[in-house]
Symmetry: C2
Subunit: 332 residues, 2 copies
DNA sequence: TTGTAAGCGTTATCAA
DNA sequence: TTGATAACGCTTACAA
């Protein structure tokens, strides 16, 4: 096993003091070019890396970002978090940060995790997902001046803090416009019960796109149901059996869309269907779906965080709203 | 913001020395009951948590375990890692460890990540997934005496190091037996090209179960193809159009099974299909599939690691082979 | 431009 | 059984 390489090893090798090595790393401009080169050479020759624990003790910064890993939810959407996490890890790495995982079952236990992570590991920042749960977490973090970003807008008070989100309304609008462009006029919407910010937002896209086209969204084709394949199937079946059925359905999720698809096939209709999230299931069954730019969203989260962490403290909370894109497949 | 609580704060509050507080935490048996109680009271009253960075400097142990997060693979199987990660995080938490994420594109970059993580963060251990890539990583870690577990058997030299795996042969055997029990006799197998340990193992289950039932596995129904929905569909189509087609298909993955299902439906046959991994897709389309006990596998990984880390060094590498279970749905 | 000294919070060693 | 001292590797302040 290789000997432990510390700043002292490097200093000895480059025949300078430990402090000079530290300066080369943290404030290169203070060191003469020639010395700097000699030290750099020693650093690479020895494969030296600053020990984070020691650095952290001195600076109070851990270069660690925490993110919660959720149990795969009931539905299909587990893979969204998966892809987001990967993007987060990758972006953090290039910015010199590492990601730490934690679990929690609700706001209270999540705040407990914050407390623990902060006290034991001196975490620099948190990435929060799913802002539907309420605001206890953001309030707690804000109160303690802990930097954080949420992936997902806070639907109550959007200005308060940093967030990155994907424009859901734009996504469903794109889907709706696509259906309009291919000749559909009776376009229904299958969404979640009113009150969830994300769900309401996605519904707005359908409303907007129809009105743009001079069509008043028909209330009888505007349906709401919990997010589940069976739920989607039931509601779609109901819609398709009505007197004046839709020729196309815009859905708030791939789960609902998959249910709708099953209804369509069972009843043997030619009805177009679009989903949301572009999950592997959508790819698998050829479902046209709205795709979120997850790697970009993750990159923005890291950027927002490191701006606050590395730079002077930001004046105002920054917000990023990204555009999703429609992935065309067989169903629409 | 609350003042920072250190071991000194607790010592003052309990009117003992810092060392005594440390002893209460790390070697309680050295401290008199009465003193111990007083210190414990102070600890809870102040909400003290040992600073890991400082502790690590002294002990050389970080209580951190690293695991690689992969980009979601092409197919359907992304959610397997997702669920495994969650289990890992949860089990690690109760054992007093945290999980750190890293990314890598191949063995070389993964070893680079090891090096970095070890030098900068003093990682205690690694969890490796996907042992098909070869052995460069395990050799590197072994050489440096870094504890690790692999999720997935090393197919070349199973005795060398700690691993946890799921018995794939048992999974496909269960699926095959189920089909036999429901009257099927012409049961085909859709698997991956020979040479991948996991794939070969799963194929064995099909062979075994058929032979158990006194049926010699028919070579014409034993097919291999890369893991993809289209691939599965093409091969299944070919099988179904043959002179003496199978009445059921055991597949090595949900991707292949989904392809097979599409072939079955397109050709309008009544052919049973089983998949492997019980992905959300399987749940979504009603595919009978073999389910891996991911939380348990994760728990065993953590247990194996902490045994080495916390206890005396283990005598011999431990191995855990878990049994999967068949989740019955509509397709078989 | 470079070097010296101190201290971050913890635990191991050893003395009381 | 408890307490003082030193040390882990690093960076900030200050002196040369």
């Amino acid at each position: 096993m290789a000997e432990k390489v510390t700043i002292a090893t490097v200093a000895r090798q480059a025949r300078v003091s430990r402090q000079t090595v530290s300066n080369v790393i943290n404030s290169p401009h203070l060191v003469r070019q020639e010395t700097r080169d000699r030290v750099q050479a020693a650093i690479t020759a020895l494969g030296y890396r600053a020990n984070q624990a020691a650095r952290q003790m001195r600076t109070g910064r851990s270069r660690l970002i925490a993110v919660r890993i959720e149990p795969t939810r009931d539905g299909i959407n587990g893979s969204v978090l998966d892809r987001f996490l990967h993007g987060l890890t990758e972006s953090a790495e290039v910015a010199g940060y590492r990601l730490m995982l934690y679990t929690a079952t609700d706001d209270t236990s999540e705040i407990g995790a914050f407390d623990d992570l902060l006290a034991a590991y001196d975490l620099d920042a948190f990435v929060l997902t799913g802002t539907d749960h309420g605001d206890a977490r953001t309030a707690w973090l804000t109160e303690r001046d802990v930097p954080f970003v949420t992936f997902g807008r806070p639907w109550d008070s959007p200005e308060r803090y940093c967030w990155v989100d994907v424009d859901g309304a734009s996504g469903t609008a794109q889907a709706t416009r696509r259906l309009l462009a291919t000749g559909h006029r009776r376009i229904g919407y299958l969404g979640w019960p009113a009150g969830s910010g994300v769900g309401d937002d996605r519904r707005v896209g359908w409303l907007t796109a129809l009105r743009e086209a001079g069509i008043e969204p028909p209330p009888d084709l505007d349906r709401q149901t919990p997010d589940g394949i069976e739920d989607g199937e039931a509601v779609a079946r109901d819609l398709l059996r009505a007197a004046d059925p839709p020729t196309a359905l815009v859905c708030a999720s791939d789960s609902l869309a998959l249910g709708a698809l099953q209804a369509v096939r069972t009843l043997d209709r030619a009805v177009a269907v679009t989903g949301f999230d572009d999950t592997p299931v959508a790819r698998a069954v050829g479902l046209t779906s709205v795709s979120q730019p997850l790697p970009q969203a993750a990159a923005h989260c890291v950027r927002l965080l490191t701006t606050v962490l590395d730079g002077s403290r930001a004046a105002t909370p920054a917000h990023v709203l990204l555009q999703p894109s429609l992935v065309l497949r067989q169903t629409a």
